[in-house]
């Protein structure tokens, strides 16, 4: 795959967009502006970004409890996201869903999901619809290392291979499911090794290298689009923050985090683009200023939006 400079810059912007969003959400959560459970994507931006760079609005994704990055990478509107996190009526879900349930079906975003392993069957279902309608669209299923131990994930992968569904399973292996390290929750070194159980391709990729992710995911997505069935791509990565905001992270070593910060996907791409002469310090500042501006606007929008009215409580249960 030959990524044009333009696409590389787009990915750089997308990763920064996620990062700035997440960092601000962390502050807003600490300030008590955002309630509930908030799982941030800081450190894992290359995965969503690299994968979604291969998708259009006609393609589908299912996300996880850690969904902000997927949503932004798939084109989600941060104003509507921020308003939703605040529980405002103008949010993506009119305030009814919050962080764990943001969806934008017009963009093919089938929702964050509060159930670990909830997404894989849904993604297989979206892929079934794509196949059925012969739309040439595909579905991408983001799921964690922890989710790979869930029965639903096994079932979705098996059915997807049986039916040759156009779905790509993107495993985000950040080494932990809350406090559970993968070394204690599975005996194979790679989630991708499990592809062998379904006779589908299983690929391991550096999840902090957005170009590598983009290329590997691109192959799986092309394969799916061409009707050649599903594949499993494991992206090795790490979350910089706690499992959710408020997690003291007592279960892992600071040194581990420090090591992974060295591999932070954003400086890595930035460095590369600077070396290639594609980005300059000024250009970078310009990008970051723009992102900060957009974010400030989103926050203002969220702040100033009204809460839903209590009269809306019973709306939207049935069609």
């Amino acid at each position: 795959m030959d990524l044009t400079n333009e696409r590389l810059v787009e990915m750089y912007i997308a990763m920064n967009k996620i990062r700035t969003f997440e960092n601000r959400v962390a502050e807003l959560f600490a300030d008590g502006k955002i309630p509930g459970f908030v799982h941030l994507y800081v450190g894992e931006e290359a995965v969503a970004t690299g994968v979604c760079a291969n998708l259009t609005d006609k393609d589908y994704i299912t996300s996880t409890h850690r969904g902000h990055g997927h949503l932004i990478a798939k084109g989600g509107d941060i104003k509507l996201m921020m308003a939703e996190l605040f529980g405002k009526k103008t949010g993506y879900c009119k305030g009814k869903g919050g962080s764990m349930h943001i969806a934008d079906l017009d963009l093919g975003i089938m929702g964050a999901n509060g159930i670990v392993g909830g997404g894989p069957p849904l993604a297989a279902g979206a892929a079934l619809a794509c196949q059925y309608l012969d739309s040439k669209s595909v579905a991408v299923c983001f799921f964690g290392d922890g989710a790979s131990n869930q029965g639903t994930t096994h079932e979705a992968m098996n059915l997807a291979t049986c039916w040759k569904l156009p779905v790509v399973f993107i495993n985000e292996n950040n080494m932990y499911g809350i406090s559970s390290c993968t070394i204690n929750s599975m005996c194979v070194p790679n989630v991708a090794d499990r592809a062998a159980a379904y006779d589908m391709p299983g690929v391991v990729v550096d999840g902090n290298d957005v170009v590598a992710v983009c290329e590997a995911a691109g192959e799986g997505i092309d394969r799916a689009r061409q009707g050649r069935g599903p594949s499993l791509i494991e992206c090795k990565t790490y979350r910089h923050r706690g499992h959710f905001e408020g997690d003291p992270c007592a279960y892992r070593d600071d040194s581990e985090l420090e090591e992974w910060k060295e591999k932070d996907p954003i400086p890595r791409l930035e460095q590369k683009l600077k070396e290639m002469g594609v980005l300059t310090d000024e250009k970078i500042q310009e990008i970051k200023d723009k992102l900060q501006n957009d974010l400030a606007e989103a926050e203002k929008f969220a702040e100033e939006s009204p809460f839903p009215d209590v009269s809306e409580l019973l709306e939207d249960v049935y069609s």
């Binding site: 869903g97 069957p121 279902g125 619809a129 249960v317």
Partner: protein, 324 residues
């Protein structure tokens, strides 16, 4: 009107709807080549082909979950769970995903899907293949729950269910599959939330579901001999529940007996009784009685199983008690 069995009426409903709408697919274990363990999907594979009639591996979470995903994206899945008892391995996709997605997404999803399942005791299938679990589904906002008692209701309600834009749980009592009756030809629907008065009466209202409608009807026939006039009301859908229809009957008779095969404790009848005890209390002249299965798993042995299933005798006794 042609005469057909309950199973044939369901089959007919499938064929009519699948012919009408190419986006309907059927999936489940043994629904294709086998035609469904109870024959409900017989002939569909031949008529509509593999794309639309999908035999699946044994994988209920994925069967239900793919239906939810496909429905969200534009198809109209009709999936079979074989036995409702199996919902335990697939419940999450139904109750946390299908039922809640529309609400969680602020109204922006439509999940038109039907989950069909056989329920009920009577064939010696024991504890894991004989349950009635309608109360579980009733309690989940976002689901609709249908439970027909006759071939014609089965057809009309299934077509209605397939056309509904929400996840519908469609419960088929297995002792009804062979029941014959007149069934309207062609396109025929029954709106949800409309109870059907299966027999008119003035002394006691008996609300009954599925096969218990027939038990109630034969009890009513016997009670007529004793000069007691029983009105048998079949809610047909448990959600939406026709509260008005039930209350109107109680306003007339002032007495209520509820009959269902489900376990009594925290069963569907509890909601009906509680609803009436709240909204029509002043019309009641007697305690509300429930005739339902006792608090145990469904036993295998024939005499025990028969003792488990609510009987005509128990209905008669309850009616006489509220008349006393």
């Amino acid at each position: 009107m042609p005469n057909m069995t309950f199973a044939q009426a369901l089959n007919d409903a499938h064929k009519i709807e699948m012919s009408r709408d190419p986006n309907i697919y059927v999936a489940g274990e043994d629904v294709g080549v086998y035609g469904g363990i109870f024959g409900v999907t017989a002939g569909l594979l031949d008529q509509f082909g593999e794309k639309r009639v999908k035999d699946t591996p044994i994988t209920e979470s994925a069967i239900v979950g793919t239906a939810v995903g496909a429905a969200t994206v534009g198809l109209r899945p009709v999936v079979e769970l074989m036995f409702v008892d199996f919902i335990g391995v697939a419940l999450d996709q139904l109750y946390n995903q299908a039922a809640k997605m529309k609400y969680m997404f602020g109204g922006k999803a439509r999940i038109p899907m039907v989950l069909r399942a056989a329920c009920g005791a009577g064939i010696g299938a024991a504890a894991q293949h004989s349950q009635c679990l309608e109360a579980l589904f009733m309690h989940i906002p976002g689901l609709k729950v249908v439970m027909p008692s006759t071939p014609s209701d089965a057809k009309g309600l299934l077509i209605q269910a397939i056309r509904d834009d929400n996840p519908v749980v469609f419960l088929e009592h297995k002792m009804l599959y062979a029941l014959e009756g007149d069934v309207p030809e062609g396109d025929y629907t029954i709106p949800f939330g409309q109870a059907d008065v299966k027999r008119e009466g003035t002394d006691v209202t008996v609300v009954a579901t599925a096969n218990m409608v027939h038990t109630a009807l034969s009890a009513a026939e016997k009670l007529a001999g004793d000069g007691i006039s029983v009105e048998v009301v079949d809610p047909r859908t448990l959600y939406p529940l026709d509260e008005e229809g039930i209350i109107n009957s109680v306003k007339k008779t002032h007495r209520l007996v509820i009959v269902h095969e489900e376990v009594k404790f925290a069963g569907s009848g509890a909601e009906i009784a509680a609803m009436v005890a709240e909204k029509a209390f002043d019309y009641l002249d007697a305690p509300i009685l429930r005739v339902a299965a006792p608090f145990c798993p469904v036993p295998f042995s024939h005499p025990l199983e028969q003792a488990y299933i609510p009987s005509e005798g128990q209905v008669i006794e309850a009616v006489k008690k509220v008349m006393a």
